[in-house]
Symmetry: C2
Subunit: 346 residues, 2 copies
Amino acid sequence: MASRQVTLAEVAKHAGVSLATASRVLNGSTRQVSEELRERVLGTARRLGYLPNASAQALARNSSVLVGLVVHDIADPYFSSIAAGVTRIAEDAGLVVVLGTTGRDARREVELVNTLRAHRARAVVIAGSRTTDRSASRQLAEEITAFTAQGGRVACVSQAKLGTDTVVPANRSGARALARRLAGLGHRRFAVLAGPPDLLVARDRLAGFKAGLADEGLDLPDANVIASGFTRDGGHAAVADLIAAHTGATCVFAVNDVMALGAMAALRDHGLRVPQDVSVAGFDDIPTLRDLVPALSTVRLPLEEMGERAARLVLDDVVAGPRTVRVAGEVVLRASTSAPGGVGLR
Amino acid sequence: MASRQVTLAEVAKHAGVSLATASRVLNGSTRQVSEELRERVLGTARRLGYLPNASAQALARNSSVLVGLVVHDIADPYFSSIAAGVTRIAEDAGLVVVLGTTGRDARREVELVNTLRAHRARAVVIAGSRTTDRSASRQLAEEITAFTAQGGRVACVSQAKLGTDTVVPANRSGARALARRLAGLGHRRFAVLAGPPDLLVARDRLAGFKAGLADEGLDLPDANVIASGFTRDGGHAAVADLIAAHTGATCVFAVNDVMALGAMAALRDHGLRVPQDVSVAGFDDIPTLRDLVPALSTVRLPLEEMGERAARLVLDDVVAGPRTVRVAGEVVLRASTSAPGGVGLR
DNA sequence: CAGTATATGGAAAGCGCTTTCCAACACGCT
DNA sequence: AGCGTGTTGGAAAGCGCTTTCCATATACTG
């Protein structure tokens, strides 16, 4: 069944030249080949339908054309937006993107980088955010060291905890600015759907939000901070806990947009109107969610651009030391937040 | 900089065995190796931090562990959902997913399959839908033939136009059922945001919708069919044309959910209420859009499952002839559609 | 006990390509 | 004529692995 492929040797033979010459013609070698032979080889290759064997090339050159992209969940619009940015840059550079998904499992992350190393991938972009799990972080760090020792480049999107090039979104300062703007609307009692306690992005956003409230002389009691999954369903489920907590909050901050989405749905289910009864804000500004009604107040992150920046970091010529690209977040107040007025959360 | 990797030969030497034995221990060969040597090799490999070179293995075995996934735009939730399904199955099978994006360019699709072939990818799932472009289709078909001739497997999601295994969603019958249900609500005048005329999914859905209306003795005048981009912005922009067309429609069908999303936003901008003034329905049931207000009536497609099915098609043992997996679409009527009553589209 | 089958180890021939090294030749000089 | 210099072609040595083929050792049969 599997028909034999045309090899370089066959092309060379048919064209009446040596293997070396054929190779030099068919890849961008520095060496010159006379016009005559070059045409002959090119013609023969086309005629025979020659396609270089990428594995053989990778082996002989000791480097591949592969770029890894590690995300938690490609169906999550946060990651798929970043992925779009990464693939655009990588493909423009003629590279091939390998997609790995972790399902938020730190061990799987290590596995994936390991696999990428086995494939002699040229670079990897790790977009999943770090957790507080020390042992997993250490293992990943080791794997990354091995990867770079081998000549590969690594960039992360999010926390610069790994000593690699990093694209760092303004989680803290964005959340802080958001808190101040929300306080500016007149809110005094807040609740936060904080996501998983061990997830650094979630922690940073919570911390920033707290800092912003503190700036305004406001306090965020621990009882008003609800842990939850980092997903739409997490946000949805957290609302029950939130209501049970009787926080009296008039404004709820969910540490990402999809959680805010779930929360808004749950609030509706509980007969609460957004923003009349309670204001809701998120973080990320997921494109697909921009047409939500009421439109979601959030902190906009240029997700695709972040992916592009990460890819560039990893594909550009080497520069000394790990670089950090900071990406600002822009507070966007829309219809899901208003001045407090309704019943709030009793 | 690039430190030398540990090779099998070194492991063999350190363990005092031959290359062959080391290879047999470290991969699942059929050949037996005595417990003693096996332990020695395993220990040495671990101690030296041996990692097999995937390119060398691929070359020697003439087969890789790569599975291609070709989509138009990974940021589009339709594709990212399918991608999630494909990666889950592929990764569970220990394979590595290569993600290629076409940006809806048919030539790029051919390029990607070609690249995958050069990498001796084991299989490829093509999720981008076909167009009416004959020449592009022919080229893709040729490339696919070459790919399969080489032992690779190919599956498509959508139209079974390529002679490959295919996962076919019920575009036609789903749209048809939707039309009947909408007519059942009492609507008599419809408009369709039909997407690009050369895109087969879009055509099928339009055709199905027309058929459903015909079932009910209703007609869809050509003037009520608005061509547009297949995106949120396409749907948004189409509304201006729709209004200019003075169709008098009380119900608008957008051939996919993201277009419906854009259309709903645009209708709001024009001061029209959904569903009071005009009902809107989409197609796909994008997960992220389930919490929209008003909730979008649509035809649910199990997108992740479709990705999984496609992946299975391509990874399962070979069976004779191209197989087709039909996936039903379930009409889900929600709040974005109601009985006609308001002003409609004058 | 010869004779055959079975388990296990190693040598070596590739897999398809890149790249070093050398040879041959054509120049432009002195 | 003799010589460096530059250009172009080819032979061949890998790249790191798998797998065939052979050799040896052991077990089993009648």
